[in-house]
């Protein structure tokens, strides 16, 4: 079980920003999210979207333990 957070335009597109999803890895999580919402799955894989696992940027794969927080971060705008 991972806690999934969406930010910026990704949250607007999905219509949610915080959800618990059953997934054992990032790839697994991407598949599950894309199965429920294909357009979101595409957006999450889009250019400039970064992934943070427990608030640290991860490039590539990561194993998700119970309660792991996964955030999808679209390009940051600055303040």
């Amino acid at each position: 079980m991972a806690r999934v957070l969406l930010f910026g335009r990704l949250a607007d597109q999905a219509g949610w920003r915080d959800r618990t999803v059953e997934a054992g890895s990032i790839a697994d999580l991407r598949r599950t999210l894309a199965d429920g919402d294909a357009a979101l799955g595409e957006a999450l894989a889009g250019p400039g979207v970064q992934v943070a696992v427990d608030k640290a940027i991860v490039r590539g794969e990561a194993v998700l333990a119970a309660g792991t927080e996964v955030a999808f971060l679209p390009p940051m705008s600055g303040g």
Partner: protein, 151 residues
Amino acid sequence: MTTLPSISLTAQAFEPGALLTTFCAGRDETGAVASFVGLARAERGQATALELEAYPGFTDAAIAAFAEEAKARFALQDYRIVHRIGRIAPGEAIVFVATAAGHRRAAFEACDFLMDYLKSRAPFWKKEHGPDGERWIEPTARDRTDAERWD
């Protein structure tokens, strides 16, 4: 003396003058404090509000890591950063940065350096609300070149 936080993200409007007064208090070896206040622009009616989203625990940690780098680079004694999040009306303060150093050059430059980072690279997501709806904003080319001056 109580220790004040160096970085705050707040959904409440803040008063920059009060922050500066507090930051300047009790310094007898500082010599120079520089400060900057960024305000939300109305863009002649095109921007009715600005909305800033942060990732608590991630955004503040990223800003803190960068600010500590700035502190070392410019030999700052101290700094204070306050950044609004949530919905911000035109004319309200979005960001306050103050830097304290022994002499003015370091204080000015560090303040400029921190602002270039906050405007272009800090992890925020910004949406502009206007008469024609809302749109997400990405950093401008100008913001990027400003930040690259320091690389």
